[in-house]
């Protein structure tokens, strides 16, 4: 057979035609497109039965009820829990993004021990043993008071267990980080007596006069405040917002009253002066005043005359007068204090001055006003057994009044003022002013134990990390704080098996106590934390475990005395540190968290590019202040504490002379081995640029801002 060109042509054409008529082409074309529709690297979530579990979010003091939607037993979505007394179905973005914390790349996956500048994984048994040995040593040396603990809050069983451990160990050095609740208690203590707290009935008030309280910026219990604010329209209630910046609250308010930073106390006192002068106060209420009401009145008339107040605050005299009258004549007025989220630095002068307004118009313990309530105490711990070391140590006075003083003392003394420190659920190395000095103090404390879930700024300073379950993995009582008109205790329940080798912090404390033996171990007789919780909440456990929450008190209490002695001593107003021309103040942004926790990747994603651009933080200033600096240009911001490269956002909503920088950025949740690059190394931590300013008399860090200058980068 002769094979020629045509044969080849035939062969080729035949092959092509054969393949073309066969299903190969059609099938491969179809299948290759189906392949792109199901790329193996694109995850396919597993389907299954849908179930819901209710729990309580404890990311912030707001304590909202949540409903966790699970599919095939995997939590897939967090939503607000309908009919929950705090949030009634609403929920904030951080709570919704809660599942991202569960799988956060910066989560600590097992107990860690610091070795040089690295952490290495150890077992729980070893970790507890190391901690117990160290503590036993301290006790042996006879200075048990040198064990300190910094927790996020006073309330709740886990804080209770820490306190109990310290007490039976022999240390009074239990500290909490500043929070709205702590300020409410400080204010209540100064004006109504110890053991009390203050709540605001925003849902019912018809005139809310907010002294910079970011009612929709995360102040108090955020979702509760959102709801109260949203209901204003229907109730025809007014909101007047006093602060230097057109915040979201100011924008949403009926009126924004711009004021020079740090002069809210003066305006409040000026308003008091007008009310007194015009006899607009409630004389029944003032009958309860003690501690020098007349002295105070005299000071007000002398120091806070209209024109003088106007000069100090930058608010026009007529406006002050009008405002005072409007406030005093409202049916259910309430003056709200705790500027920003109320968890940053505050001065007692401001807190007391604003609250005096409430007292003057007689809204204490009245609907739509403020409630003076007993502290939320629902836990019944059995009596501790104390040995002599414990008794002696616990009887000593605290090393410092507040965390700030503790840090100061540790840094000041050459011998270790504190031998061992527990840090639970808080991040002082990020959220206190001048974190550098906090880290320095941590460095001087020989043994730091962190109970953090994440490798945050403070955990990185620890010698041992005993990682906690996140709120989605553990059982815990969550008392609502933060100025809520009702006291609610919620129950956080595990909605998923622990993802990593972590523990409930309560269990960690019990294990440490047991390892310490003797009277300490005797005070912790529970096998596990869950048993302890049931035991110490026995009074409310049934309804707590069944309904997921208990409302402890609801509505106003009885009338109460008002002590104005702090103000009657004519305290000075705190001034911003430094002598630059401008004032730097923090901005609260609901989409960021400024307490210990870092915002989730989703939350960071929602942050505007006029707040964070790439890794650059954007500061706000009035165009009048800019002096040649351009919008979206770069500049160097300098304060007495340091400087930072910033991007400029020229914002007409900013008072001239004031610079605003957002709180909650500049986290560094990264080490060589693990990092959450979605939220880390973005922007600047404003606390690095502000130093503490201690208010005499109260001992509070009251630095509302700091003097600053800005120059072209």
């Amino acid at each position: 057979m002769k094979v020629d060109r045509r044969s080849f042509l035939g062969l080729g054409l035949g092959a092509v035609a054969g393949i073309a008529v066969s299903p190969v082409g059609l099938k491969l074309t179809d299948d290759s497109s189906i392949w792109t529709q199901n790329w193996p690297w694109t995850p396919v979530p597993v389907d299954g039965e849908v179930t819901y579990e209710s729990s309580v979010c404890s990311l912030c003091p707001g304590s909202c009820g949540i409903s966790v939607r699970k599919i095939d037993d995997r939590p897939v979505k967090i939503e607000g829990l309908a009919d929950y007394p705090v949030n009634d179905g609403g929920v904030c973005l951080h709570g919704i993004a809660g599942l991202q914390y569960l799988y956060d790349p910066a989560r600590i996956k097992s107990p860690l021990k610091k070795n040089g500048d690295k952490f290495e994984e150890i077992s729980w048994d070893d970790a507890i043993a190391i901690v117990a040995d160290k503590l036993a040593d301290i006790r042996k040396k006879g200075s048990p008071e040198k064990l300190a603990c910094i927790a996020d809050k006073e309330q709740g069983s886990v804080s209770g267990l820490f306190k109990r451990l310290l007490k039976t160990f022999g240390s009074p050095n239990f500290y909490t980080m500043p929070s709205l609740e702590s300020y409410l208690e400080v204010t209540a203590a100064a004006m109504h007596g110890e053991g009390k707290t203050i709540a605001f009935d925003l849902e019912n008030s018809d005139f809310i006069l907010s002294f910079g309280a970011g009612i929709i910026e995360g102040w108090g219990s955020p979702v509760n405040c959102f709801k109260a604010n949203a209901s204003r329209k229907e109730r025809h209630a007014k909101l007047y917002q006093i602060e230097p910046r057109l915040s979201n609250t100011a924008a949403n308010a009926d009126k924004w009253i711009p004021i020079k930073p740090g002069t809210q106390a003066d305006l409040a006192l000026g308003l008091c002066a007008v009310i007194l002068k015009n006899n607009l106060f409630d004389s029944n209420a003032t009958a309860n005043f003690k501690g020098g009401f007349h002295k105070l009145a005299a000071i007000l008339q002398k120091n806070y005359a209209l024109s003088k107040t106007a000069e100090i605050t930058g608010v026009k005299a007529v406006d002050i007068e009008k405002l005072a009258i409007l406030f005093a004549k409202a049916k259910m007025p309430v003056a709200v204090f705790g500027h920003g989220r109320g968890d940053g630095a505050q001065s007692l002068k401001e807190l007391a001055a604003v609250h005096t307004l409430n007292c003057l118009v007689g809204n204490i313990n009245k609907k739509g006003g403020t409630f003076v309530l007993p502290k939320n105490e629902y836990l019944e711990f059995p009596d501790e057994s104390m040995d002599s070391i414990a008794d002696a140590g616990f009887a000593k006075s605290k090393t410092g009044r507040y965390v700030n003083q503790l840090i100061e003392k540790v840094n000041a003394s050459s011998q270790p003022a504190i031998e061992a420190l527990f840090v639970y659920n808080t991040n002082p190395c990020y959220s206190l002013h001048d974190p550098k000095s906090v880290k320095q103090a941590f460095g001087k404390i020989p043994f730091v134990v962190s109970f953090s879930s994440f490798l945050d700024e403070t955990a990185k300073e620890a010698d041992i990390i005993l990682p906690s379950h996140t709120f989605l993995e553990r059982l815990e009582d969550v008392p609502s704080c933060a100025g809520l008109a009702k006291s609610v205790v919620g129950l956080t329940k595990p909605v998923i098996e622990p993802v990593f080798n972590t523990k409930n912090p309560g269990d960690a404390v019990i294990l440490i106590a047991k390892a310490l033996e003797g009277s300490i171990a005797q005070s912790f007789e529970w096998e596990i934390y869950d048993e302890c919780l049931e035991n110490i909440t026995s009074g409310i456990w049934d309804s707590l475990s069944e309904d997921g929450h208990v409302v402890i008190s609801d509505g106003p209490g009885e009338s109460t005395a008002v002590n104005v002695s702090f103000l009657a001593d004519n305290p000075v107003t705190i001034q911003a540190q430094g002598d630059y021309e401008l004032t730097l103040i923090p901005i609260d942004n609901m989409r960021l968290i400024n307490a210990g926790t870092t915002a989730s990747p989703f939350a960071i994603k929602t942050v505007s590019d006029r707040v964070l651009k790439g890794s650059d933080i954007v500061i706000e200033m009035n165009p009048l202040t800019a002096k040649g600096l351009k919008d979206k240009g770069f500049a160097i911001l300098t304060t007495p504490m340091g400087n930072a490269r910033v991007m400029i956002n020229l914002n007409e909503g900013m008072m001239p002379g004031v610079i605003g920088m957002v709180e909650g950025l500049g986290h560094t949740l990264n080490t060589k081995n693990m990092s959450n690059k979605y939220v880390s190394n973005k922007g600047v931590n404003i606390n690095d640029l502000i130093g503490p300013v201690i208010e005499s008399g109260s001992g509070l860090d009251a630095a509302f801002g700091i003097k600053a200058k800005i120059s072209k980068a």
Binding site: P43, M590, S600, A603
Partner: protein, 286 residues
């Protein structure tokens, strides 16, 4: 099949801008509900996928008369000119990867059909459509929170708000199971609506007079006397739609007491606003 003969729904939304606090819950709820991915840097908002985006509007006045307002913008689910279902995006998609559900009024987007030509994005004046420039990636383990109700997207396709259609499907499944013909108002609510802590978003069937959204919007079923392409103009003087004059006929309505806010909903020639601002969907022939 009987359920397909039911009277058509027209799902829509009214957002109270005076209640909106700009908190971002709607955005995160949406991302979490719909398996929206995230990446290391999301500060370039021009390539950041947020089906629901909250814009910040200002009145442009200087201190201290400045005012700001937040405007949440999901997909507007346009009905197109004359509300015939030819929304700007649907009519341009060459591969029928997006279509108009005439039974719901919802504009779909099918990721597996889309081949990524992005014509729909060019067509949408609201920038409600987003392209997957990257493959979605979750940190190790985090893919466990993904919901099977919404298919994760692959790179190279367009995605957008679906009015949480899977929730509609789920509600209908329950109704079928219980032998009901239709679903109740509360059974189908979008993730942004239920998440809004201020209760600023109201969602429901614009065609159903018993639904709250209908009662607030009071949509005019007749063409606007000034522009025959516009159907469903609100008869509530405080309610407006975005770019209504283009004839896109969105199903997202906005509510504000403030005139400057309403004015920013559309573009006007000099002096035109004063003439138009009191023109609302007429009730005379309604």
């Amino acid at each position: 099949m009987k359920q397909e003969n039911n009277k058509a729904h027209k799902f829509g939304m009214v957002i109270d801008l005076d209640k909106c606090t700009g908190c971002g819950s709607c955005m995160v709820s949406c991302m979490s509900e719909n398996n929206v991915p995230f990446k290391e840097d999301e500060s370039n908002k021009k390539d950041s996928i947020t089906w629901m985006r909250v814009y910040k509007l200002t009145n442009g006045k200087s201190f201290p008369d400045t005012e700001i307002v937040y405007l949440p913008r999901p997909c507007q689910h346009c009905g197109g000119k004359g509300d015939h279902g030819h929304s700007p995006c649907i009519s341009v998609c060459p591969a029928t990867a997006t279509d108009y559900g005439y039974d719901t009024g919802i504009v779909s987007q099918i990721y597996t059909r889309c081949f990524g030509c992005r014509y729909c994005m060019g067509a949408c004046p609201y920038h409600a459509r987003y392209f997957n420039w990257w493959d979605p990636k979750w940190p190790e383990g985090m893919e466990k929170y993904l919901s099977p109700n919404v298919s994760p997207r692959m790179r190279g396709v367009v995605e957008k708000c679906s009015f949480c259609y899977h929730r509609y499907q789920a509600a209908r499944d329950t109704a079928y199971y219980e032998g009901r013909d239709d679903i109740e108002e509360h059974e189908y609510q979008t993730a942004c609506t239920t998440a809004c802590p201020a209760g600023a978003i109201v969602f429901g069937d614009l065609n159903n007079p018993f639904h709250k959204v209908h009662q607030i919007v009071k949509p005019d079923p007749h063409p606007d006397t000034r522009n025959k392409h516009v159907i469903g103009k609100s008869r509530n003087p405080k309610v407006f739609r975005l770019l209504e004059r283009l004839g896109t006929n969105p199903k997202i309505y906005y509510l504000s007491e403030r005139e400057w806010v309403r004015k920013q909903g559309d573009n006007y020639l000099d002096g035109e606003w004063d003439e138009i601002k009191n023109h609302h969907g007429s009730s005379s022939h309604g």
